[in-house]
Amino acid sequence: MKRFDPRLYQIGALTLLLLYGLTALDFDTTWFRAALVIGAAIGAQWVCSRIWNVKFDPRSAAISGLSLALLLRSNSIVFLLAAAGIAISSKFAIRWRGKHIFNPTNIAIVALMIATPRVWVSPGQWGNVAFFGFLITCLGGLVVNRASRSDVTYAFIAAWSAVLIGRSLWFGEPLTIPLHRLENGALLLFTFFMISDPKTTPDSRAGRILFAVLVALGARYVQFKLFHTNGILWSLAACSLLVPIIDVLLPGGRYTWKQGGSSWSVSPQWRWHFVPGLLPRIRSAAFMSQRAMPRFSIARRRWRSSATAIAP
């Protein structure tokens, strides 16, 4: 029996959240703009598929487009179109060992926030009245995903909760403060649909947990040391650059969006990577010696073979 593609659930859930945001939450955007950015993302996917000569699949692009419509705001349509273009093209152009480095939505938002003051993200737009409705919708995604790579979601929410609750306990603030910060739709969207992107998270479970903790610590630095808004978005973009290193230090099986199902597999070639300790791996990464590199040559072969069959 074919398994349900989790991306279809994500598309459904994100569409519901967008409809709710536009009708009930007075999102500072319009139906036209939302449709435009979603259409632009799918269009960009089609163009990139032609250029890189891979099969066109609109599902991931629809998720990126919906996420941009939910998060990114601008008075200018040009910037919204640019966001869709950056998101999709980053998947094809910024790759390492057959994986794209950045979550498409995340890099598009961060790149534009660096490039121009004319775009913004409104983390407060969700309020916290409908929080539990969002939560249930997002949790549904975990069920559909069959927890295949939900560890990064759990690890991040645990680490971020620890940061917020720990900070409030240290300052002697009532727990209503960290709870109010956690009851945020933007945070849920980030946790369940962005950081959990199986195509950009580390391959191994240990790596993903380490990654989630690093993102939470980075977000803490941005939000509570620099006092800058959208700490989680900035932190995810920065930490994504560490994923290739984490994959070298803590290797694991590569994720594939299987047709009609979601799963990730550990190939026999890769399984033995778990067996040796961390230290030899660090050594081999540091010295890059030929003798200590058999596993890297395997990795390179895999990269070459997957280069012709990109399925972002």
Binding site: L25, D26, D28, R73, S74, N75, T116, P117, R118, V119, W120, S122, P123, G124, Q125, W126, G127, N128, V129, W170, F171, G172, E173, P174, T176, I177, L179, H180, R181, N184, L226, F227, H228, T229
Partner: protein, 434 residues
Amino acid sequence: MVADDMAMIKFTALSFFIAANAQAFCGFYVAKGDAKIFNRASQVALVRSGDRTVMTMANDFHGEPKDFAVVIPVPTMITRDQIHIADKALIEHLDAYSAPRLVEYFDPDPCRLPSVAESITVAGRAGMRDEKRDKQLGVTIEARYTVGEYDILILSAAQSDGLETWLRQNGYTIPTGASEVLGSYIKQNMKFFVAKVNLREQAKLGYSYLRPISVAYESPKFMLPVRLGTVNAAGPQELFVYTITRKGRVEATNYRTIKLPSDIDVPLYVKQEFAPFYKALFSEQVRKENMSTLFTEYAWDMNWCDPCAANPLSRQELRTLGVFWVSNDPNSGGAADVFLTRLHVRYDREHFPEDLVFQETGDRQNFQARYVLHHPWTGDNYCDAADSYHASLRERQEKEARNVAELTGWNLDDVRKKITFASSDKKWWQTLWK
């Protein structure tokens, strides 16, 4: 807020732009609903660019000046020249310029128009004790100034109960539960700006009211500490925040910020009752949103207005308010990057557990809260178009009544009673000899 024979502690907040797409506006501005109609409302102006902030605090304190005091957590040490006593008129001008407004149109003669069906489209979206004991309490008086009619202290504290004791011993009434809140600010290394009225200086200066206090500082924190104000259970607090920034509209990052309903047709009688209308409208919107949002009442490029409830602030006024990037030179040409956002919030501890944190967005779309009156055409020309005009008039008035009831929560029948409805079946000869 608590008032007794000692000082009254007023806990308020503390701690930042534009492309317009407005169309021509042809209504007449007739009334505004300013902040004065709300009881005990605090008004804070935040001028911000980069990390530079100038905060001006005003409130409508009506008690004895000796009973007034304000304690505000501030992110940095404040020196004498960072404090300025502002002119009350500045805040009043800001309020008048940005207040929700009522505009009116007069229906044209339906017989002189090619089509009556065309409705007018409106755009323009619109003392101090000995130092030894202070040290025992862990409280350090970092600085002490007399500025204008105020005695100002900058305090730092090691622990909250020490600060609470110090404040009590020095004549400030602290609401129960403040210690916890003070503690969290102490741990964040914040200082405390404490001001009370120096009666002798006030008499010398001759002001009968309390002037706003401006403080300039540099900090990455773009926030307004409102938690102290929610400690005592004196009911919800009313706060107006005017932010003046360079890039665009300002919004809260940890609460929803939504626009007050605007551009809505209301019955003519609202002209006489605009203040209660605005007050009821705001209360109703707060209720609908479960008192968990901030409302944007105005967001506009300060270089112009349409319609103008008051003229934009002059360059001189802006400079005095702390808009440091505007040149003082009246001859300097060019439009200044000055974007005003007026936020209005009613808050309490339950619904606003944490301080307000803001961000400046790149949104330069102009917005104003405006309500529209349409005066019916009263001429006696007769034509087919006049018949259909009269027939549509009653329908329009009914719609206006429903708008008011929905906006304010007022009873629809009560609203209808105040409206002089047009008679839709009037024949042309009924007005012929009148």
